[in-house]
Point group: C2
Chain length 316, copies 2
Protein backbone atom coordinates (compact mmCIF):
# COMPACT_ATOMS: atom_id res chain seq x y z
CA UNK A 1 0.00 0.00 0.00
CA UNK A 2 1.25 3.45 -0.86
CA UNK A 3 1.61 5.52 2.31
CA UNK A 4 0.84 9.25 2.12
CA UNK A 5 3.89 11.02 3.45
CA UNK A 6 6.33 13.85 2.93
CA UNK A 7 8.84 13.03 0.18
CA UNK A 8 12.61 13.16 0.37
CA UNK A 9 12.39 16.49 -1.47
CA UNK A 10 9.88 17.81 1.10
CA UNK A 11 12.38 17.22 3.91
CA UNK A 12 15.29 18.65 1.92
CA UNK A 13 13.21 21.73 1.09
CA UNK A 14 12.11 22.07 4.73
CA UNK A 15 15.73 21.94 5.83
CA UNK A 16 16.68 24.74 3.45
CA UNK A 17 13.71 26.97 4.17
CA UNK A 18 13.89 26.76 7.97
CA UNK A 19 17.67 27.22 8.04
CA UNK A 20 17.67 31.01 8.58
CA UNK A 21 15.28 30.68 11.52
CA UNK A 22 16.47 27.59 13.38
CA UNK A 23 19.71 26.30 14.85
CA UNK A 24 21.86 23.55 13.45
CA UNK A 25 22.00 21.92 16.87
CA UNK A 26 25.18 20.27 18.13
CA UNK A 27 25.66 16.53 18.55
CA UNK A 28 27.23 15.66 21.90
CA UNK A 29 28.76 12.46 23.23
CA UNK A 30 30.00 11.27 26.62
CA UNK A 31 32.96 8.94 26.84
CA UNK A 32 31.74 7.67 30.21
CA UNK A 33 28.22 6.93 28.98
CA UNK A 34 29.67 5.20 25.91
CA UNK A 35 31.83 3.04 28.19
CA UNK A 36 28.88 2.10 30.40
CA UNK A 37 26.80 0.96 27.44
CA UNK A 38 29.62 -0.38 25.22
CA UNK A 39 28.43 1.68 22.29
CA UNK A 40 28.82 5.06 20.62
CA UNK A 41 25.89 7.27 21.46
CA UNK A 42 25.34 10.55 19.63
CA UNK A 43 22.92 12.93 21.32
CA UNK A 44 21.25 15.27 18.81
CA UNK A 45 20.62 18.26 21.05
CA UNK A 46 17.26 19.77 20.11
CA UNK A 47 17.13 21.05 23.68
CA UNK A 48 19.36 23.80 22.25
CA UNK A 49 16.87 24.46 19.44
CA UNK A 50 15.01 27.79 19.19
CA UNK A 51 12.19 27.98 21.76
CA UNK A 52 13.79 25.01 23.51
CA UNK A 53 12.65 22.06 21.38
CA UNK A 54 12.48 20.42 17.93
CA UNK A 55 8.96 21.83 17.61
CA UNK A 56 10.48 24.99 16.14
CA UNK A 57 11.51 23.04 13.04
CA UNK A 58 8.00 21.92 12.17
CA UNK A 59 6.36 25.18 13.20
CA UNK A 60 8.65 27.29 11.03
CA UNK A 61 8.30 24.90 8.10
CA UNK A 62 4.50 24.87 8.37
CA UNK A 63 4.24 28.64 8.43
CA UNK A 64 6.70 29.11 5.56
CA UNK A 65 4.65 26.59 3.55
CA UNK A 66 1.37 28.51 3.89
CA UNK A 67 -0.15 30.43 0.95
CA UNK A 68 0.58 34.12 1.14
CA UNK A 69 -3.09 35.02 1.47
CA UNK A 70 -3.53 32.63 4.37
CA UNK A 71 -0.69 34.32 6.22
CA UNK A 72 -2.59 37.57 6.81
CA UNK A 73 -5.11 35.97 9.12
CA UNK A 74 -2.44 34.27 11.13
CA UNK A 75 -2.21 30.78 12.59
CA UNK A 76 -3.88 29.00 15.48
CA UNK A 77 -3.39 25.87 17.52
CA UNK A 78 -4.14 24.37 20.89
CA UNK A 79 -1.17 23.31 22.98
CA UNK A 80 -0.07 23.40 26.57
CA UNK A 81 3.51 22.72 25.77
CA UNK A 82 6.44 23.21 23.47
CA UNK A 83 4.42 23.60 20.27
CA UNK A 84 2.62 26.65 21.65
CA UNK A 85 5.92 28.47 22.09
CA UNK A 86 7.33 27.23 18.81
CA UNK A 87 4.32 28.34 16.76
CA UNK A 88 4.13 31.75 18.44
CA UNK A 89 7.82 32.26 17.75
CA UNK A 90 7.54 31.07 14.15
CA UNK A 91 4.60 33.45 13.54
CA UNK A 92 6.55 36.34 15.04
CA UNK A 93 9.34 35.80 12.47
CA UNK A 94 6.89 36.47 9.62
CA UNK A 95 5.16 39.13 11.66
CA UNK A 96 1.79 37.40 11.48
CA UNK A 97 -0.66 36.87 14.35
CA UNK A 98 -0.75 33.61 16.30
CA UNK A 99 -3.67 32.45 18.42
CA UNK A 100 -2.87 29.81 20.99
CA UNK A 101 -5.55 27.99 22.94
CA UNK A 102 -4.06 26.87 26.24
CA UNK A 103 -5.62 24.98 29.16
CA UNK A 104 -6.12 27.21 32.18
CA UNK A 105 -3.76 24.95 34.18
CA UNK A 106 -0.86 25.39 31.76
CA UNK A 107 2.38 26.37 33.56
CA UNK A 108 2.70 30.15 33.85
CA UNK A 109 6.20 30.00 32.39
CA UNK A 110 4.84 28.50 29.17
CA UNK A 111 2.02 31.05 28.97
CA UNK A 112 4.57 33.83 29.50
CA UNK A 113 6.79 32.40 26.77
CA UNK A 114 3.92 32.41 24.26
CA UNK A 115 3.00 35.98 25.16
CA UNK A 116 6.68 36.92 24.99
CA UNK A 117 6.72 35.77 21.37
CA UNK A 118 3.64 37.91 20.67
CA UNK A 119 1.07 35.10 20.71
CA UNK A 120 -2.53 35.76 21.75
CA UNK A 121 -3.54 33.26 24.41
CA UNK A 122 -7.12 32.06 24.86
CA UNK A 123 -7.66 29.90 27.91
CA UNK A 124 -9.98 26.88 28.07
CA UNK A 125 -10.73 24.12 30.53
CA UNK A 126 -8.16 21.32 30.37
CA UNK A 127 -10.12 18.77 28.34
CA UNK A 128 -9.51 17.83 24.72
CA UNK A 129 -13.17 18.59 23.94
CA UNK A 130 -12.95 22.13 25.31
CA UNK A 131 -9.58 22.71 23.69
CA UNK A 132 -11.03 21.79 20.29
CA UNK A 133 -14.24 23.75 20.84
CA UNK A 134 -12.30 26.84 21.90
CA UNK A 135 -9.93 26.53 18.95
CA UNK A 136 -12.90 26.33 16.57
CA UNK A 137 -14.31 29.52 18.12
CA UNK A 138 -10.97 31.33 17.80
CA UNK A 139 -10.63 30.29 14.17
CA UNK A 140 -14.23 31.38 13.47
CA UNK A 141 -13.48 34.79 14.97
CA UNK A 142 -10.07 35.37 13.36
CA UNK A 143 -9.95 33.37 10.12
CA UNK A 144 -6.60 31.99 11.25
CA UNK A 145 -5.26 28.75 9.75
CA UNK A 146 -5.05 25.84 12.17
CA UNK A 147 -1.63 24.28 12.43
CA UNK A 148 -1.86 20.90 14.11
CA UNK A 149 1.15 20.11 16.33
CA UNK A 150 1.89 16.78 14.61
CA UNK A 151 -0.94 15.58 12.35
CA UNK A 152 0.31 17.72 9.44
CA UNK A 153 2.73 16.83 6.63
CA UNK A 154 4.61 20.14 6.75
CA UNK A 155 5.17 19.59 10.46
CA UNK A 156 6.38 16.02 9.86
CA UNK A 157 8.78 17.18 7.14
CA UNK A 158 10.08 19.90 9.45
CA UNK A 159 10.69 17.49 12.32
CA UNK A 160 12.51 15.17 9.92
CA UNK A 161 15.18 17.83 9.35
CA UNK A 162 16.74 17.03 12.75
CA UNK A 163 17.67 13.57 11.49
CA UNK A 164 18.81 14.89 8.10
CA UNK A 165 21.16 17.17 10.05
CA UNK A 166 22.31 14.37 12.37
CA UNK A 167 23.23 12.18 9.40
CA UNK A 168 25.24 15.05 7.91
CA UNK A 169 27.03 15.53 11.23
CA UNK A 170 27.79 11.88 12.11
CA UNK A 171 28.80 9.10 9.73
CA UNK A 172 27.70 5.48 9.73
CA UNK A 173 24.80 5.65 12.17
CA UNK A 174 23.38 2.15 12.75
CA UNK A 175 20.33 3.03 14.80
CA UNK A 176 18.23 6.03 15.82
CA UNK A 177 16.20 6.19 19.03
CA UNK A 178 13.43 8.78 19.24
CA UNK A 179 10.60 9.56 21.66
CA UNK A 180 7.02 9.08 20.51
CA UNK A 181 4.04 11.13 21.68
CA UNK A 182 1.65 12.27 18.94
CA UNK A 183 4.08 10.96 16.34
CA UNK A 184 5.31 14.12 14.62
CA UNK A 185 8.96 13.71 15.55
CA UNK A 186 9.15 9.93 15.11
CA UNK A 187 7.42 9.95 11.72
CA UNK A 188 9.75 12.68 10.41
CA UNK A 189 12.73 10.88 11.93
CA UNK A 190 11.85 7.52 10.39
CA UNK A 191 11.28 9.05 6.95
CA UNK A 192 14.55 10.99 7.06
CA UNK A 193 16.47 7.89 8.21
CA UNK A 194 14.98 5.97 5.28
CA UNK A 195 15.65 8.74 2.72
CA UNK A 196 19.10 9.89 3.83
CA UNK A 197 20.58 6.91 5.73
CA UNK A 198 21.62 3.36 4.89
CA UNK A 199 19.90 0.50 6.71
CA UNK A 200 19.31 2.51 9.86
CA UNK A 201 17.15 0.81 12.47
CA UNK A 202 14.63 3.27 13.89
CA UNK A 203 13.17 2.60 17.33
CA UNK A 204 10.48 4.71 18.98
CA UNK A 205 10.66 4.97 22.78
CA UNK A 206 7.64 5.59 24.97
CA UNK A 207 6.85 5.72 28.69
CA UNK A 208 5.09 2.58 29.94
CA UNK A 209 2.55 4.89 31.60
CA UNK A 210 1.59 6.36 28.20
CA UNK A 211 2.06 3.35 25.95
CA UNK A 212 -0.68 4.04 23.40
CA UNK A 213 1.82 4.13 20.51
CA UNK A 214 3.27 0.77 21.56
CA UNK A 215 -0.20 -0.74 21.76
CA UNK A 216 -1.27 0.88 18.48
CA UNK A 217 1.85 -0.47 16.75
CA UNK A 218 1.09 -3.99 17.99
CA UNK A 219 -2.62 -3.75 17.15
CA UNK A 220 -2.13 -2.22 13.72
CA UNK A 221 -4.60 0.58 14.45
CA UNK A 222 -4.60 3.75 16.49
CA UNK A 223 -5.51 3.10 20.12
CA UNK A 224 -6.13 6.45 21.83
CA UNK A 225 -4.18 7.50 24.88
CA UNK A 226 -6.46 7.32 27.91
CA UNK A 227 -5.46 8.80 31.25
CA UNK A 228 -1.69 8.54 30.64
CA UNK A 229 0.52 8.80 33.71
CA UNK A 230 4.11 9.83 33.19
CA UNK A 231 6.66 12.49 34.03
CA UNK A 232 7.27 12.78 30.31
CA UNK A 233 4.61 15.42 29.77
CA UNK A 234 5.41 15.84 26.09
CA UNK A 235 4.38 12.27 25.34
CA UNK A 236 0.79 12.20 26.62
CA UNK A 237 -1.09 12.62 23.34
CA UNK A 238 -2.59 10.04 20.99
CA UNK A 239 -1.06 9.28 17.58
CA UNK A 240 -2.16 11.38 14.62
CA UNK A 241 -3.99 9.98 11.59
CA UNK A 242 -1.21 11.09 9.24
CA UNK A 243 1.55 9.89 11.58
CA UNK A 244 0.42 6.34 12.26
CA UNK A 245 0.73 4.92 8.70
CA UNK A 246 4.26 6.33 8.47
CA UNK A 247 5.15 4.81 11.85
CA UNK A 248 3.70 1.43 10.83
CA UNK A 249 5.76 1.37 7.66
CA UNK A 250 9.01 3.10 8.62
CA UNK A 251 9.58 2.46 12.33
CA UNK A 252 11.24 -0.87 13.16
CA UNK A 253 10.08 -1.20 16.73
CA UNK A 254 8.46 0.62 19.65
CA UNK A 255 9.70 -0.04 23.18
CA UNK A 256 8.40 1.15 26.54
CA UNK A 257 10.32 2.31 29.61
CA UNK A 258 9.55 2.76 33.30
CA UNK A 259 9.42 6.10 35.12
CA UNK A 260 12.37 4.93 37.21
CA UNK A 261 14.51 4.50 34.09
CA UNK A 262 13.43 7.89 32.75
CA UNK A 263 14.66 9.49 35.98
CA UNK A 264 17.91 7.49 35.90
CA UNK A 265 18.52 8.57 32.31
CA UNK A 266 17.84 12.24 33.11
CA UNK A 267 20.24 12.09 36.03
CA UNK A 268 22.98 10.50 33.95
CA UNK A 269 22.64 13.17 31.27
CA UNK A 270 22.50 16.09 33.72
CA UNK A 271 25.45 14.86 35.78
CA UNK A 272 27.69 13.57 33.03
CA UNK A 273 26.80 15.64 29.97
CA UNK A 274 25.98 18.88 31.83
CA UNK A 275 22.94 19.56 29.68
CA UNK A 276 19.33 20.14 30.64
CA UNK A 277 16.82 17.84 28.99
CA UNK A 278 13.13 17.42 29.61
CA UNK A 279 11.79 14.06 30.86
CA UNK A 280 10.29 13.29 27.43
CA UNK A 281 13.80 13.38 25.99
CA UNK A 282 15.09 10.81 28.46
CA UNK A 283 13.02 7.87 27.17
CA UNK A 284 15.66 7.06 24.55
CA UNK A 285 18.56 6.60 26.97
CA UNK A 286 16.10 4.94 29.37
CA UNK A 287 15.41 2.27 26.76
CA UNK A 288 19.17 1.56 26.63
CA UNK A 289 19.35 1.46 30.44
CA UNK A 290 16.51 -1.09 30.44
CA UNK A 291 18.16 -3.18 27.72
CA UNK A 292 15.07 -2.78 25.56
CA UNK A 293 17.33 -2.15 22.57
CA UNK A 294 20.67 -3.78 21.90
CA UNK A 295 23.17 -1.02 21.21
CA UNK A 296 26.36 -3.03 21.86
CA UNK A 297 29.13 -1.88 19.49
CA UNK A 298 26.63 0.19 17.52
CA UNK A 299 26.67 3.85 16.53
CA UNK A 300 23.37 5.17 17.81
CA UNK A 301 21.70 8.56 17.39
CA UNK A 302 19.41 9.71 20.21
CA UNK A 303 17.05 12.56 19.43
CA UNK A 304 17.02 14.82 22.50
CA UNK A 305 13.69 16.46 21.84
CA UNK A 306 13.77 19.45 24.18
CA UNK A 307 14.94 21.17 27.32
CA UNK A 308 11.85 22.92 28.63
CA UNK A 309 11.63 21.69 32.18
CA UNK A 310 10.64 23.29 35.46
CA UNK A 311 13.95 23.16 37.32
CA UNK A 312 12.09 23.25 40.63
CA UNK A 313 10.62 19.86 39.76
CA UNK A 314 13.73 17.93 38.80
CA UNK A 315 12.88 14.42 40.02
CA UNK A 316 16.25 13.51 41.56
Amino acid sequence: MLVSKPSKQDITKASMQIEPYTHVTPVLSSELINTIFKSELFFKCENFQKAGSFKSRGAVNAILSLDKKMLDHGVATHSSGNFAQALARAASILNIPSYIVMPENAPQVKVDAVIGYGGEVTFCTPTLADRERTLTEVIGRTGATEIHPYDNYDIIAGQGTATLELLNQIDNIDMILCPVGGGGLISGTALAASYFGKNITVVACEPLGADDAYRSFKAGEIIPSVNPQTLADGLLTSLGERNFPIIKNYVDNIVTVSEESIIKAMKLVYERMKIIIEPSSAVTLASIIENKVDVTNKRVGLIISGGNVDLKKIPF
Copy 2:
Protein backbone atom coordinates in the same frame (compact mmCIF):
# COMPACT_ATOMS: atom_id res chain seq x y z
CA MET B 1 59.86 44.65 35.02
CA LEU B 2 60.04 41.33 33.23
CA VAL B 3 57.26 39.07 34.46
CA SER B 4 57.97 35.34 34.76
CA LYS B 5 55.29 33.60 32.79
CA PRO B 6 54.54 30.89 30.23
CA SER B 7 55.47 31.99 26.72
CA LYS B 8 53.30 31.98 23.62
CA GLN B 9 55.11 28.79 22.61
CA ASP B 10 54.34 27.20 25.99
CA ILE B 11 50.61 27.67 25.43
CA THR B 12 50.77 26.49 21.81
CA LYS B 13 52.73 23.41 22.91
CA ALA B 14 50.26 22.77 25.75
CA SER B 15 47.40 22.95 23.28
CA MET B 16 49.03 20.35 21.03
CA GLN B 17 50.08 17.98 23.76
CA ILE B 18 46.76 17.92 25.66
CA GLU B 19 44.70 17.58 22.46
CA PRO B 20 44.41 13.76 22.50
CA TYR B 21 43.19 13.80 26.10
CA THR B 22 40.85 16.80 26.30
CA HIS B 23 37.81 18.11 24.43
CA VAL B 24 37.74 21.04 22.06
CA THR B 25 34.71 22.42 23.88
CA PRO B 26 31.88 24.09 21.97
CA VAL B 27 31.11 27.80 22.06
CA LEU B 28 27.40 28.48 22.59
CA SER B 29 25.34 31.65 22.24
CA SER B 30 21.78 32.65 23.08
CA GLU B 31 19.88 35.06 20.87
CA LEU B 32 17.67 36.04 23.79
CA ILE B 33 20.56 36.73 26.15
CA ASN B 34 22.30 38.73 23.41
CA THR B 35 19.13 40.79 22.95
CA ILE B 36 18.80 41.47 26.68
CA PHE B 37 22.38 42.74 26.95
CA LYS B 38 22.68 44.33 23.49
CA SER B 39 25.87 42.45 22.77
CA GLU B 40 27.21 39.23 21.30
CA LEU B 41 28.16 36.84 24.08
CA PHE B 42 30.13 33.67 23.33
CA PHE B 43 30.11 31.08 26.11
CA LYS B 44 33.20 28.87 26.02
CA CYS B 45 31.76 25.71 27.53
CA GLU B 46 34.42 24.16 29.75
CA ASN B 47 31.54 22.61 31.68
CA PHE B 48 31.66 20.05 28.85
CA GLN B 49 35.40 19.49 29.38
CA LYS B 50 36.73 16.12 30.59
CA ALA B 51 36.09 15.65 34.33
CA GLY B 52 33.64 18.56 34.11
CA SER B 53 35.94 21.60 34.15
CA PHE B 54 38.87 23.48 32.57
CA LYS B 55 41.08 21.95 35.28
CA SER B 56 41.64 18.96 33.00
CA ARG B 57 43.63 21.17 30.62
CA GLY B 58 46.19 22.22 33.19
CA ALA B 59 46.33 18.83 34.90
CA VAL B 60 47.02 16.97 31.67
CA ASN B 61 49.58 19.55 30.57
CA ALA B 62 51.39 19.44 33.91
CA ILE B 63 51.65 15.65 33.90
CA LEU B 64 52.77 15.48 30.28
CA SER B 65 55.45 18.07 31.12
CA LEU B 66 57.03 16.01 33.92
CA ASP B 67 60.38 14.26 33.49
CA LYS B 68 59.98 10.59 32.74
CA LYS B 69 61.75 9.56 35.94
CA MET B 70 59.42 11.71 38.03
CA LEU B 71 56.40 9.98 36.50
CA ASP B 72 57.07 6.63 38.17
CA HIS B 73 56.40 7.96 41.64
CA GLY B 74 53.18 9.61 40.60
CA VAL B 75 51.67 12.99 41.41
CA ALA B 76 50.06 14.47 44.49
CA THR B 77 47.95 17.49 45.38
CA HIS B 78 45.45 18.70 47.91
CA SER B 79 42.06 19.72 46.60
CA SER B 80 38.44 19.41 47.60
CA GLY B 81 37.14 20.24 44.17
CA ASN B 82 37.55 20.04 40.44
CA PHE B 83 41.34 19.82 40.41
CA ALA B 84 41.27 16.61 42.46
CA GLN B 85 39.20 14.88 39.80
CA ALA B 86 41.16 16.41 36.93
CA LEU B 87 44.55 15.34 38.30
CA ALA B 88 43.39 11.82 39.12
CA ARG B 89 42.01 11.48 35.61
CA ALA B 90 45.15 12.91 34.01
CA ALA B 91 47.33 10.48 36.00
CA SER B 92 45.15 7.55 34.95
CA ILE B 93 45.79 8.39 31.28
CA LEU B 94 49.53 7.84 31.78
CA ASN B 95 48.85 4.96 34.13
CA ILE B 96 50.75 6.60 37.00
CA PRO B 97 49.61 6.83 40.63
CA SER B 98 47.88 9.94 41.97
CA TYR B 99 47.63 10.84 45.63
CA ILE B 100 44.90 13.30 46.50
CA VAL B 101 44.62 14.88 49.93
CA MET B 102 40.99 15.83 50.52
CA PRO B 103 39.30 17.43 53.53
CA GLU B 104 37.11 14.96 55.39
CA ASN B 105 34.06 17.16 54.64
CA ALA B 106 34.55 17.01 50.86
CA PRO B 107 31.34 16.01 49.03
CA GLN B 108 31.08 12.23 48.65
CA VAL B 109 30.42 12.63 44.93
CA LYS B 110 33.81 14.30 44.46
CA VAL B 111 35.59 11.67 46.57
CA ASP B 112 33.90 8.97 44.50
CA ALA B 113 34.95 10.65 41.27
CA VAL B 114 38.61 10.73 42.36
CA ILE B 115 38.50 7.07 43.36
CA GLY B 116 36.70 6.26 40.10
CA TYR B 117 39.68 7.70 38.21
CA GLY B 118 42.02 5.51 40.27
CA GLY B 119 43.24 8.21 42.66
CA GLU B 120 44.32 7.34 46.21
CA VAL B 121 42.51 9.60 48.66
CA THR B 122 44.01 10.63 52.01
CA PHE B 123 41.63 12.54 54.25
CA CYS B 124 42.62 15.44 56.50
CA THR B 125 40.84 18.00 58.63
CA PRO B 126 39.48 20.89 56.57
CA THR B 127 42.14 23.50 57.33
CA LEU B 128 44.83 24.73 54.96
CA ALA B 129 47.48 23.88 57.58
CA ASP B 130 46.36 20.27 57.87
CA ARG B 131 45.94 19.93 54.11
CA GLU B 132 49.53 21.04 53.58
CA ARG B 133 50.89 18.94 56.45
CA THR B 134 49.09 15.83 55.17
CA LEU B 135 50.29 16.46 51.62
CA THR B 136 53.90 16.72 52.88
CA GLU B 137 53.46 13.37 54.65
CA VAL B 138 52.02 11.72 51.56
CA ILE B 139 54.85 13.03 49.39
CA GLY B 140 57.41 11.88 51.98
CA ARG B 141 55.92 8.41 51.91
CA THR B 142 55.45 8.07 48.13
CA GLY B 143 58.02 10.29 46.46
CA ALA B 144 55.22 11.73 44.32
CA THR B 145 55.61 15.10 42.61
CA GLU B 146 53.36 17.83 43.94
CA ILE B 147 51.22 19.49 41.29
CA HIS B 148 49.80 22.73 42.62
CA PRO B 149 46.28 23.46 41.31
CA TYR B 150 47.20 26.92 40.00
CA ASP B 151 50.56 28.20 41.27
CA ASN B 152 52.43 26.32 38.53
CA TYR B 153 53.47 27.50 35.04
CA ASP B 154 52.49 24.26 33.28
CA ILE B 155 49.05 24.55 34.84
CA ILE B 156 48.76 28.19 33.76
CA ALA B 157 49.81 27.34 30.18
CA GLY B 158 47.28 24.49 30.13
CA GLN B 159 44.42 26.71 31.31
CA GLY B 160 45.38 29.27 28.65
CA THR B 161 44.54 26.77 25.92
CA ALA B 162 40.81 27.37 26.47
CA THR B 163 41.24 30.95 25.26
CA LEU B 164 43.52 29.93 22.40
CA GLU B 165 40.72 27.60 21.28
CA LEU B 166 38.04 30.26 21.75
CA LEU B 167 39.96 32.69 19.55
CA ASN B 168 40.25 30.03 16.85
CA GLN B 169 36.52 29.37 17.07
CA ILE B 170 35.22 32.97 17.16
CA ASP B 171 36.57 35.96 15.24
CA ASN B 172 37.00 39.51 16.43
CA ILE B 173 36.50 39.06 20.15
CA ASP B 174 36.63 42.47 21.90
CA MET B 175 36.58 41.32 25.51
CA ILE B 176 36.97 38.19 27.61
CA LEU B 177 35.35 37.72 31.03
CA CYS B 178 36.77 35.03 33.29
CA PRO B 179 36.27 33.95 36.91
CA VAL B 180 39.14 34.41 39.34
CA GLY B 181 39.84 32.15 42.34
CA GLY B 182 43.47 31.15 42.81
CA GLY B 183 44.31 32.71 39.48
CA GLY B 184 45.24 29.73 37.32
CA LEU B 185 42.49 30.20 34.76
CA ILE B 186 42.58 34.00 34.62
CA SER B 187 46.37 34.17 34.27
CA GLY B 188 46.35 31.64 31.43
CA THR B 189 43.39 33.43 29.84
CA ALA B 190 45.02 36.86 29.99
CA LEU B 191 48.30 35.55 28.53
CA ALA B 192 46.52 33.72 25.70
CA ALA B 193 44.41 36.81 24.92
CA SER B 194 47.60 38.88 24.74
CA TYR B 195 49.49 36.34 22.62
CA PHE B 196 46.79 35.24 20.22
CA GLY B 197 44.27 38.13 20.18
CA LYS B 198 44.25 41.75 19.11
CA ASN B 199 43.52 44.40 21.73
CA ILE B 200 41.26 42.15 23.77
CA THR B 201 40.14 43.59 27.10
CA VAL B 202 40.40 40.93 29.81
CA VAL B 203 38.25 41.32 32.92
CA ALA B 204 38.39 39.00 35.93
CA CYS B 205 35.10 38.46 37.78
CA GLU B 206 34.89 37.58 41.44
CA PRO B 207 32.19 37.15 44.09
CA LEU B 208 31.95 40.13 46.46
CA GLY B 209 32.01 37.61 49.31
CA ALA B 210 35.45 36.35 48.22
CA ASP B 211 36.97 39.54 46.83
CA ASP B 212 40.62 38.95 47.72
CA ALA B 213 41.72 39.14 44.07
CA TYR B 214 39.91 42.47 43.66
CA ARG B 215 41.56 43.84 46.78
CA SER B 216 44.95 42.42 45.83
CA PHE B 217 44.68 44.01 42.37
CA LYS B 218 43.90 47.41 43.91
CA ALA B 219 46.60 47.10 46.58
CA GLY B 220 49.29 45.81 44.21
CA GLU B 221 50.12 42.89 46.48
CA ILE B 222 48.52 39.58 47.37
CA ILE B 223 45.93 39.94 50.11
CA PRO B 224 44.95 36.46 51.33
CA SER B 225 41.38 35.26 51.22
CA VAL B 226 40.05 35.14 54.78
CA ASN B 227 36.76 33.45 55.62
CA PRO B 228 35.25 33.88 52.13
CA GLN B 229 31.47 33.50 51.89
CA THR B 230 30.02 32.63 48.51
CA LEU B 231 28.05 30.01 46.62
CA ALA B 232 30.90 30.01 44.10
CA ASP B 233 32.88 27.32 45.88
CA GLY B 234 35.58 27.19 43.20
CA LEU B 235 36.62 30.78 43.94
CA LEU B 236 37.46 30.62 47.63
CA THR B 237 41.25 30.37 47.43
CA SER B 238 43.94 33.08 47.64
CA LEU B 239 45.94 34.13 44.59
CA GLY B 240 49.12 32.21 43.80
CA GLU B 241 52.62 33.76 43.82
CA ARG B 242 53.13 32.91 40.15
CA ASN B 243 49.64 34.03 39.15
CA PHE B 244 49.52 37.46 40.70
CA PRO B 245 52.29 39.16 38.66
CA ILE B 246 50.65 37.90 35.45
CA ILE B 247 47.27 39.19 36.61
CA LYS B 248 48.76 42.60 37.53
CA ASN B 249 50.33 42.96 34.09
CA TYR B 250 47.86 41.29 31.75
CA VAL B 251 44.39 41.68 33.29
CA ASP B 252 42.66 45.00 32.57
CA ASN B 253 40.25 45.01 35.48
CA ILE B 254 38.74 42.95 38.27
CA VAL B 255 35.08 43.39 39.16
CA THR B 256 32.98 41.93 41.95
CA VAL B 257 29.41 40.62 41.90
CA SER B 258 26.76 39.85 44.48
CA GLU B 259 25.42 36.41 45.33
CA GLU B 260 22.03 37.54 44.03
CA SER B 261 23.49 38.26 40.61
CA ILE B 262 25.33 34.93 40.56
CA ILE B 263 22.02 33.16 41.14
CA LYS B 264 20.26 35.28 38.50
CA ALA B 265 23.00 34.49 36.00
CA MET B 266 22.85 30.75 36.72
CA LYS B 267 19.09 30.78 36.29
CA LEU B 268 19.32 32.61 32.97
CA VAL B 269 21.87 30.13 31.64
CA TYR B 270 19.98 27.03 32.84
CA GLU B 271 16.62 28.23 31.55
CA ARG B 272 17.69 29.78 28.28
CA MET B 273 20.82 27.92 27.26
CA LYS B 274 19.83 24.52 28.73
CA ILE B 275 23.30 23.87 30.07
CA ILE B 276 24.44 23.09 33.59
CA ILE B 277 27.10 25.40 34.98
CA GLU B 278 28.53 25.63 38.47
CA PRO B 279 28.06 28.84 40.50
CA SER B 280 31.73 29.81 39.99
CA SER B 281 31.06 29.96 36.24
CA ALA B 282 28.18 32.39 36.66
CA VAL B 283 30.24 35.33 37.92
CA THR B 284 31.01 36.44 34.35
CA LEU B 285 27.41 36.83 33.25
CA ALA B 286 26.63 38.23 36.70
CA SER B 287 29.09 41.04 36.07
CA ILE B 288 27.16 41.90 32.90
CA ILE B 289 23.84 41.73 34.77
CA GLU B 290 25.25 44.16 37.34
CA ASN B 291 26.59 46.47 34.66
CA LYS B 292 30.08 46.14 36.08
CA VAL B 293 31.42 45.82 32.55
CA ASP B 294 30.14 47.62 29.47
CA VAL B 295 29.49 45.02 26.81
CA THR B 296 27.17 47.07 24.60
CA ASN B 297 27.72 46.21 20.93
CA LYS B 298 30.79 44.20 21.85
CA ARG B 299 31.74 40.64 21.03
CA VAL B 300 32.48 39.10 24.40
CA GLY B 301 33.87 35.70 25.33
CA LEU B 302 32.79 34.25 28.70
CA ILE B 303 34.82 31.37 30.08
CA ILE B 304 32.33 28.90 31.57
CA SER B 305 34.75 27.19 33.91
CA GLY B 306 32.86 24.04 34.90
CA GLY B 307 29.64 22.13 35.45
CA ASN B 308 30.27 20.19 38.62
CA VAL B 309 27.35 21.17 40.80
CA ASP B 310 25.18 19.29 43.26
CA LEU B 311 21.82 19.42 41.50
CA LYS B 312 20.04 19.02 44.83
CA LYS B 313 21.43 22.40 45.85
CA ILE B 314 20.50 24.52 42.83
CA PRO B 315 19.78 27.89 44.46
CA PHE B 316 16.62 28.79 42.48
